[in-house]
């Protein structure tokens, strides 16, 4: 009944109460072909905007309620108390939920993650203070689990480049849970992303490759269906090739390659324009989601960038 009927896939990005990252998250969805709406949490609660009119819900980064009583804790409570059933029905309909950073923290406090065996109410994992005790902004390398059911990371493990790199920016990103829960997550391939070294091998707890001390280097997990995905790194902050710390090196290498074979005398912007026209690895996460949803709910999108 919520089919897109030939319309674009609609994404809702939550705003308000100290959330940020909503502009770039919406932008990433737009680039991925969706129609993105930034919507204040209270608008969903009041019903002025209907959650059911969307296909994907994004809980983005930020400091909801200042993160004062545990990151994402009060946001989870607010959503549970006012939108709990709607969220469960949203997931029931096979729609997608992504939680990034503060959104991930919120999803685990809500119990929507890890959602082991369809239990979307139990809090069984937590994201707590980084071992370094402080907020940290750095780019991390991630190894992507090819066996994970996550719909968001399909094909990301075949990246031609070494591995997936994204920025992390958080103070409370250390993933912890009982050993039983961790083992379950590993066994069911719900561990989607792990902090890794430069070669894509798991960091094995080594700082700063693992920036926060997460158990098993866990950076992102999904529920058993792969429809609900939470991660600490920010894919929306890698929406353009110039976001990557090494982008100038990449251009320089391409330029020199040209000069070496002297095949043509290209414009200085040639390589930059080429790189800018390719979807960044961060964007692919959003494209995976939108592509999946348009297969399921809407018309295939015509102007997919490849």
């Amino acid at each position: 009944m919520n089919r897109a009927n030939g319309k674009k896939i609609k994404a809702v990005v939550l705003t308000g109460f100290g959330l940020n990252c909503d502009m770039e998250t919406a932008h990433a969805f737009e680039l991925a072909g969706a129609e993105a709406h930034r919507v204040h949490i209270n608008m969903l609660i009041s019903g002025k905007v209907d959650l059911d009119s969307f296909h994907i819900l994004a809980l983005g980064g930020g400091f909801s309620w200042g993160d004062d009583h545990g990151a994402g804790v009060i946001q989870a409570l607010k959503l549970k108390n006012h939108l709990g059933d709607q969220l469960l029905s949203f997931i029931d309909q096979g729609k997608l939920v992504i939680g990034i950073c503060n959104g991930f923290q919120t999803l685990v406090n809500l119990g929507l993650l890890p959602g082991i065996n369809g239990d979307y109410k139990t809090r069984s994992v937590a994201l707590t203070w980084n071992d370094c005790g402080n907020f940290r902004d750095q780019w991390v390398n991630l190894s992507v689990n090819p066996k994970s059911p996550s719909l968001f990371t399909r094909g990301l493990y075949d990246l031609s480049s070494d591995n997936l790199a994204l920025p992390v920016r958080h103070a409370q990103g250390k993933f912890v849970a009982d050993k039983v829960v961790i083992d379950t997550l590993i066994d069911s391939d719900q561990v989607v992303l792990r902090y890794a070294d430069i070669h894509g091998k798991p960091a094995m707890g080594k700082f700063p490759e693992n920036p926060n001390g997460s158990i098993h280097d866990i950076a992102g997990i999904c529920d058993t269906t792969g429809h609900v995905f939470g991660l600490m790194p920010h894919p929306e902050a890698y929406n353009h090739f110039t976001n990557h710390p090494d982008w100038q090196s990449e251009i320089e290498i391409l330029k020199r390659r040209d000069k070496n074979d002297r095949s043509d005398n290209r414009d200085v912007n040639f390589h930059g324009n080429c790189l800018a026209s390719l979807p960044s690895p961060g964007l692919k996460i959003f494209m995976n989601a939108v592509n999946y949803l348009s297969e399921k709910f809407g018309e295939p999108l015509l102007n997919q960038k490849s």
Partner: protein, 1064 residues
Amino acid sequence: MISCIETALKPELLDAEAVGLQRKAMDYFNINIHDGRVVNLVTIEAELSFDELRAIKDEILTNPVIQISSLENPLEIGFDWCIWVGFRPGVRDNAGSTAQEAVKDLLKRDFRAGEGIYTSKRYCITGNELTREDVEKIAGELLANPIIQQWKVFSYREWKDTGEKSNNISKALDSSSVKNFDSRPVGLAVPKVMLNHVPGFDTINIESDQALQKISNERNLALNPRDIPVIRQYFLDPDVRESRNRVGLSEPTDVELEYISQARSDHCNHNTFRGLFNYRDISTGETAVEKNLFKTYIQEPTLQLKDEKEWVVSVLWDNAGVGRFDGENNYVITGETHNSPSNMEAYGGAITGIVGVYRDPLGTGLGSRLIMGSYGFCVGDINYNGPLKAPLHPRRLLDGVVEGVKDGGNKSGVPTTFGQTLFNDGYMGKSLVFVTALGIMPSHVNGMPSHEKKTEPGDLVVMSGGRVGKDGIHGVTASSEVLSENTPAGHVQIGDPYTQKKMHDFLLIARDEGLFGFITDNGGGGLSSSVGESAMISNGCEIWLDKVPLKYDGLDMWEIWVSESQERMTIAVKPEYIDRFMELSKEHEVESTVIGTYTDSGKLHILYNEKTCAYVDIDLLEKGFPQWEFDAVWVPPDIRGLTEPVLKPPSGKAGYNDLLCDMLARPNICSKEWIVRQYDHEVQGGSVIKPLVGINRNVPSDASVIRPVLTSERGIVFSQALLPWYSKIDAYHMMSCTIDEAVRRIIAVGGSISHIGGVDNFCWPDIQHHPEKNPDGRFKAAQLVRACRALKDASFAYGIPLLSGKDSMYVDGYLQGKYGDSVKVSALETVQFSATGVVEDIKKCITLEPRMPGDLVYVLGVTADELGASEYYELLGKTGLNVPEVNFKRFKVIYKTLEKAVDSGIVASAHAVARGGLGVHFALSAISSGMGMDINLDSVPLSPDLSSAKESNSIDGFPGDDLLLFSESSGRFIVTVAPEYQSVFEKLFKGLPCGCVGRISDTHSNLRIQGIKPCKIEAVKSVKAEDFKDISTLDGKNMDSFLIIDTPCDYLEKVWQAPMGGMV
């Protein structure tokens, strides 16, 4: 009823906060804490049932996966010592307030007057050797600041005893009490403000100048003696009296005098910069009357440049300057300092500073969205162990300001993309905290230009955001006031980025809906400034102070009027839009209140419960208040006895290697990655050039670039420079070098000299001469005049309109000495200059990181004998005389040429040579590339003086390699270029100072520097054979030069990281 919920991490989990405390106790005081756990206390004063309290504990405060908690009793966590730290009454408790929001939502229940939630912490620490003295030190010097916090220290025995005692007392008092919640040593006293005061206003006796002066002193009005007759004259004017009589007033009220005092303060009125300076140069006899530094040196050049530069949109009147970003958007920039508050309470001062400056762009034009921020910290030596006592030790102060800007910036969702930290003993007297903010707004809102705004008669005066308390009101001083349990500690504030972010989001939507015609922020002076200034546009207002929402009852009218409580904006809303405005405000859970109306009565009319408490002419402030006057006497550096030190260069490789390593480890040179990493510089998704670059992503970049409009590939480039050391010789050159460095940083990443806007932030010691209190005031005044002259010269020469600027005078402090004495310590005359511009295509931006082995290394710009006040001389304990000078005209040609080269894509990397000279910056380039670098100093372009000295070999060892390595001549770059572009590049720079000094190595990973040809054969002979290296140099020339530096880059990196490497 008061109850307390305690939470802590489960015992098996690492407590990172406690580990941090352990580390600091060891590092700072050599106190060994064996183990520690942190307990969070949430104290609730409200009539709640046990079930409700348990719901709060379980649903809100306890994460069952990681936390334990307790409602009935304190958590049983073992310790030898327990330190409890809570806020003083009236201090902003952000966590308490978000808890209140959560409880309201959970229980569907409002908090009544007098009810509230308060947070505090207790630190349970163990350690065999810990003494009470140690623990008190940890409490008072690490965990708590008496200005905003209270603390208690318990030994385990004391804790147990207190618990028992209060348990017994409560039992005796109320034997029927079921839960005995209050049987605990801490957590049940609430820091609630209770003023027990009936609000009112006073009238002030103005029978004589002396009488008014006396009252001004008593009430801390800080009226300038020269203003007093003007004020009296106004209130004694028969016409004024008559009109005041009609509203029931006669003598001035305290509300009115506070208004005048605020508006006439140096902070609001910039009396110093608008003052009259009698300038005299003692050596040349030159005298000049500087009628108004602001007009002459800032306003005039900027207005002229505004006419020349089509991109300048709005300058000199609003909360921030406005420049054009693209056809649809304008950017907004301003910079502030928050020195005095940060000096007393570093965290509170800094967070209030950054959150406060973020309101400026929001209050510019019709409001702009915040897109980036930056910081500049100037503090004393963090390892200082001398006798002087600053309010906060520099190390603690730095920790606090770093954290304050972190929380303020990160929680605002604004990337902090640039920042500098520097150290100098002068900042022990007063440290400096610079904060800068940029915003962006659509050039038109509802078809109207967004940079214009006005209030009109009939518009409603709306206050949005936080509530008003005794915050930031002058006269409430920490030390002199006897503090009771319920006295608000309001003079130092704690910014609340959460409340402000909600307000920011709300106001931008209201803006786009066209709901208001005017917006400004409440900063210094509070409503007095924001309403007072905005009412000048409509020509009057009527304000109902009783409508202003308060944090607690009992504020006098003048306090409501001048309170600087944070996170508030003042907005003019037309009556027809007020309902929608209020609806939207409610939706965003932002408090907005109509507090009055704009009029055209010509009067500032303030009422409280319909009774007038202020009624003055809105143009009162233009009624001929006298200009401040200063004597400025310039004594040139050579007359002051400054000379160049007599030095011989180090001998041989070992000496130079050590020297370079020592330079890299200097506090002002070494890596401060630990600070930069704490700031989110990627939020908003537009990061192009990050604050840290290089293969290990740890070298500070010259400038940052962001892409504020995500659908566009245009960028905003931003840099800052701070070179206060040169003020030791001449503030003219301090200013010109500072601007030059900021400009070069912009050019180095691909910015354009045709679009650079500047922001000047002056921080100056007191310049008013006083024979005992400020004997060198005249000299400092002359330094100010000279800095302003340089500002004008530079802005004209480089074509930089000053989009914004601020001045903070009186950066002096009286520090307690060893003998009960006190010493006045003044900061160096300091200007932070920010430069910003628009990059048309971010894909052309470059960084300082050399990219490929085999690339050629060039130095652009001449190196001169300019070691005066350099880092090298400071290392040697010298000042010198030859301060770097800027030749704007010549430099500009180089900058334009480099800009062209970068634009054409032939430059692989560029780096502005800054503090520490070529030696330090070759090293940083090499570190950033991870590749070896062969450099030959013989090819460095020299000034005419130096090159003839070099040719003639006339003086023994002059110029030495140390001069070439560490001279801080301005105008220089280190550039790398691919060999295939060599001829194009060199052709472009033909006739300009451009030397090919080396190459990025493809065979080794060392920094290898060859010195210039030794001037005497003897000198060569004295050098050991191993110092001669037959390394292949450019075109085979200078084979006989000798190697003075040969060190692996990763070693240099370690040395450079070591001093602050352990800090997080």
